[in-house]
């Protein structure tokens, strides 16, 4: 077998080069239609990016809408909750022990202390790290 004298081939060249050359020669071109579509997209993106910034009046309206929408109600709710907490603290103080633990837990600790602890030889369940 010998190499032909084809202008695309040389005896010391990679045989694939002829295929690469041929593929480059016959590469698809950008059609006018596709170019127009791409430029239409560019115009659309440019128009979107160049949309006018909100005017001062529009900004004021946005602030008012924001306050009416959720900011003002949220602020009012926070003030009400703070006032209620203050009132409970001043008007109806409770013994700290009453808030320490639920009644059922206090009962459970009582039985543990009175009944179970002597059986295992401990004086205080808190020594177990409870």
């Amino acid at each position: 077998m010998k190499m032909s004298t084809d202008k695309h081939l040389k005896t010391d060249a990679d045989p694939l080069d002829a295929f690469f050359d041929a593929a480059r020669d016959q590469a698809p071109d950008l059609s006018p239609d596709l170019r127009a579509r791409i430029l239409a997209d560019a115009a659309g993106a440019m128009h979107k990016a160049a949309s006018p910034a909100p005017s001062g009046l529009a900004v004021r309206h946005r602030v008012v809408d924001w306050l009416r929408g959720w900011a003002a109600p949220s602020l009012a709710g926070g003030i009400t909750a703070a006032a209620a907490g203050f009132w409970f603290g001043v008007a109806a103080p409770l013994p700290v022990a009453a808030l320490d633990a639920p009644l059922w837990l206090q009962d459970a600790l009582f039985y543990f202390d009175v009944i179970s602890t002597p059986l295992v030889g401990l004086d205080d369940p808190l020594l177990w790290g409870f």
Binding site: M1, D6, D21, P28, D29, I38, D41
Partner: protein, 193 residues
């Protein structure tokens, strides 16, 4: 650094900035500089002109959208665009794989064709063989041997190391040679008598 020199990369970046500032001529220049390369790449990856056009349009649209926020992160617009196109092609190839597999249709080894016909047949044979390559090898071979990019450029596009690019292109060429070995006539070989 996809363009052959930094000047081309800088020109693309400058044009992108001008486009973001509202210069329509910059959009035309970028389209003429970049879209044909993306179209060629996508057509060879997908072996389908219509799908390649869709990928090209989609990739360019993403470039237009990112233009206002474009920052010089070390990757030029052309490389960024090739990377986007490669990902879009991968998505389409993945969807295709869920359907029946297609075997490449290599042209017959017919003697007696003239030079122009031989060129056409070589291009068709290469395209068919490319379609049979694993996807990453196909990407590397197309970018290296058909688009003429350097290995560091391809590494940036495919987000792999330069050595991995060299390995992919070498294996790709070996596979292409094997696939095309039966095409003696269009390879340009003649039997000895």
């Amino acid at each position: 650094m996809v363009p052959r020199d930094m000047d081309a990369a800088n020109q693309d970046a400058d044009l992108l900035v001008q486009f973001a500032q509202g210069d329509r001529l910059a959009a035309q220049a970028l389209t003429d500089r970049l879209a044909p390369r993306i179209l060629r790449f996508a057509a060879r990856m997908l072996n389908d002109r219509t799908e390649a056009e869709d990928v090209t349009q989609d990739a360019m649209l993403r470039l237009w959208r990112i233009a206002p926020d474009w920052q010089d992160t070390g990757i030029p617009p052309a490389a960024w665009l090739f990377r986007v196109a490669a990902n879009l092609c991968t998505d389409r190839l993945r969807r295709r794989r869920s359907g029946p597999a297609e075997m490449p249709d290599l042209p017959d080894d017919a003697p007696g064709v003239d030079a122009q016909m031989m060129q056409t047949r070589r291009a068709e044979a290469l395209q068919a063989a490319l379609a049979a390559l694993p996807e990453r090898q196909r990407q590397a071979v197309i970018l290296r041997h058909l688009e003429g990019l350097s290995n560091p450029d391809i590494a940036a596009i495919l987000m792999i190391g330069v050595e991995a690019v060299e390995s992919l292109t070498a294996r790709g060429k070996r596979n292409l040679t094997a696939l095309l070995s039966g095409q003696r006539e269009i390879l340009g070989y003649e039997d000895e008598h």
